[in-house]
Symmetry: C2
Subunit: 408 residues, 2 copies
DNA sequence: TATTTATTCGGTCTATTGACGAATTAAACT
DNA sequence: AGTTTAATTCGTCAATAGACCGAATAAATA
């Protein structure tokens, strides 16, 4: 165990670009020799040796053996070292708290979960700190070596301040400065992101939506929500409220009191909505949507009808998503949405609802999607902190209109 | 008039970055002296002189006078030269063809229009070539000096191939390879983009949506369409069909034949839909939506009711946009949507439909929006061709999942 | 021996720094 | 008032450091 890895010293832009492309190659092709790295990146062998030396001194890279069997001198092989830094992904759900640990190379080292402390607020934050501390210690590292943390939480997360603006399911979280408190407890920069957005990114990184630039994630569980990924970027919206489709004006009168309170769509397809409709249609006593599904499977016609209506409304929401953002793929997730029988019904309806056919898949990561997505963002943030060129990547802004623009 | 400007010779990445930031400063602050440029860009005076010299030799920059009145030596002032290159924006509408000319600094030099050749197809392309040729000659330049052309057209434009996939309003355009044909006629690279997307970009550049990162443009005229701008980027969708909200399942039964043919929403709020509803409600003989508005203004209750219903459905569509992408601003455009009386009705309805209030504005560029947006894209493409750093991808791609990822 | 890897050396390109002359205004002095 | 001096700013020159590459060379191995 070496000393904590220092931040890389300031280098010139061009060296930083070289470092960046070497890092990227190491990320995707390790273990790899310096000669191969030079071929892949287009840099010279000379530059490569310099960069690898610097990486080695920072603990970013380690040697892992050498080639054999080929003609010519054997080559030393290198890979990213776990010493380079670790990241934490945390999914703070209303029922379950999950924490996962990965290293800078994106290797998921461990994952653990337990029921969320139902006293909420500060207790939940304490619980996060405890669980994170244990997870790191159990895996030969320590909180002080964590370089980036991302927290998944339900509710609207302001993309500028990081504040949680609506968190109906976890009590007393909206009033806390979670970023500051958790950052202090854990000793690393913390970023908060909406759980559905992170579930989407999870599916994109390790799940059923890999290598896709335009995806929508439609989550249906106790509530309803949407994650949008367009042009290879997460769409957060101006206030972080993109994807809050509870208020989509579908499935009922959007002006009636219930719609305005809970959201028109969620009033119908949210868990309480499904149970209400089952009850009102004369269904027998149940206390979870899962039970309605079970009833339907054993032949309860009322349950089947209620679920069919839920699928119809979900299909309408999916059709709206397709019409508006034209994704290549829609992933259905959440405790209800991820059920294959349910997804099949939605997909069948979509055949008639939308003129352009879009593939429908069910979430492959399930409950893990959020925490995996949190890891992916934490990892990206760590990489950008080391090798970011954010100020360069943007397109040139156009000049504002001049006052004397010609017309004819 | 000098010789055609040669492309800049290949330079190193770091010099290219310097050139880029000098160009950007010139774009936004000209006329400006070399000393000020050095301060603004952070480069040294020495480097600045080298870059400005190179720009001058390429014809990108010209001297425009000198400072006076200040203490110290006078400074020479520089600005981008029109010799640096011109761009064309073209809006090929079903009724009107508009062409506009700008120089590399974003100065709009001229704009002209005439009725679209209603024979469509190849005739329209010939007409574009004629009008473009005339516009450039009338403004002391020539087609051969045009470096970038963007064409606005109704219909779905495939973002990868540039092919026009659905163009209901202009006959015989879908079967032509417009990019190749027009590029050959005009002698410059041509890019095609959906007219509503470009109208949105026009409002962002020179209209009512400046300095906003998340905007939606809701166009209501003969048809209905949407342009989305999120994270400072246009959302095109996987097939370029983002914003094709004709098929949004609002305002009627999305499964009925008419909805599946024309789109559920457009069947109601498109021009033919409005006229049909007015006729079915017993309204007197009219042949344009404008006339229905005029009737309503002089007290025709049926016309008022029909327009109110149109506004209600437009409000529902806007509410759906707000719920899904959370824009900071919605711009209403198109011959119907841009009417202030109509927009007021929509805005009033939105107060009740959406829990979060979003500003509504009407298009300030009107019919010019498309061509202005085309200019802005043409300009951005020219800038990127000169100073692009596209190979420096914005974010490092994460590694794909390894096979042996840990769990516990 | 042929081939591949890794290192060393020299050359080029770019950017920065500090010094300097040129040009101009402000202030001081006769 | 007119002239001289100081201060300030602009742009260039020369020297230097960082980074890259290519060629030559040494090392290792089938």
């Amino acid at each position: 165990m070496t000393l904590p890895v220092p931040l890389p010293p300031v280098t010139s832009v061009t060296r930083q670009l070289s470092r960046r492309s070497v890092f990227e190659a190491l990320l995707h092709r390790s273990p790899i020799s310096r000669a191969d790295l030079a071929k892949v990146t287009g840099l010279s062998k000379q530059t490569m040796s310099e960069v690898i030396d610097a990486f080695g001194q920072q603990g970013l890279v380690r040697q892992v053996g050498r080639t054999s069997g080929n003609v010519g001198r054997t080559a030393l092989l290198y890979e990213l070292s776990p010493e380079g830094g670790h990241v934490l992904g945390i999914d703070l759900g209303a029922r379950r708290l999950t924490v996962a640990l990965a290293d800078i190379a994106g290797r998921v080292l461990a994952e653990t979960d337990e029921p969320t402390d139902n006293r909420g607020g500060a207790w939940a934050l304490d619980q996060i700190a405890r669980l994170s501390d244990r997870l790191t210690r159990d895996n030969h590292t320590h909180l002080s070596r964590i370089r980036s943390i991302v927290l998944a939480t339900p509710g609207v997360v302001n993309p500028r301040s990081g504040a949680i603006e609506m968190s109906p399911n976890i009590t007393g979280l909206g009033h806390l400065n979670v970023v500051a408190l958790l950052g202090e407890k854990l000793g690393s920069p913390v970023v908060i992101e909406n759980d559905i957005n992170l579930a989407l990114l999870g599916e994109i990184w390790h799940g059923c939506a890999q290598n896709v630039a335009n995806v929508a994630f439609l989550a249906l569980g106790s509530g309803v929500g949407l994650g949008l990924y367009a042009n290879g970027q997460l769409v957060r919206g101006e206030n972080g409220a993109a994807g809050e489709i509870a208020y989509l004006p579908l499935g009922g009168d959007p002006l009636q009191a219930e719609s305005r309170l809970q959201g028109c769509l969620e009033y119908q397809v949210g868990a309480t909505g499904v149970l209400r409709r089952y009850r009102e249609a004369g269904g027998s006593e149940v206390d979870s949507v899962i039970q309605v599904f079970e009833r339907a499977q054993v032949g309860d016609p009322i349950a089947a009808q209620v679920i069919g209506e839920t699928a119809r409304l979900t299909g309408l929401a999916a059709a709206a998503v397709i019409a508006m953002v034209d994704p290549q793929l829609i992933v259905l997730g959440g405790s209800v949405g991820a059920r294959p029988d349910f997804a099949d019904q939605v997909a069948r309806l979509l055949l008639q609802l939308s003129p352009r056919q879009v593939e429908i898949r069910t979430s492959t990561l399930g409950r893990r999607a959020g925490v995996v997505g949190a890891l992916s963002v934490a990892l990206s943030r760590l990489h950008d902190a080391f090798f970011g060129v954010s100020e360069l990547a943007a397109s040139l802004p156009l000049p504002p209109p001049a006052h004397g623009s010609a017309r004819q």
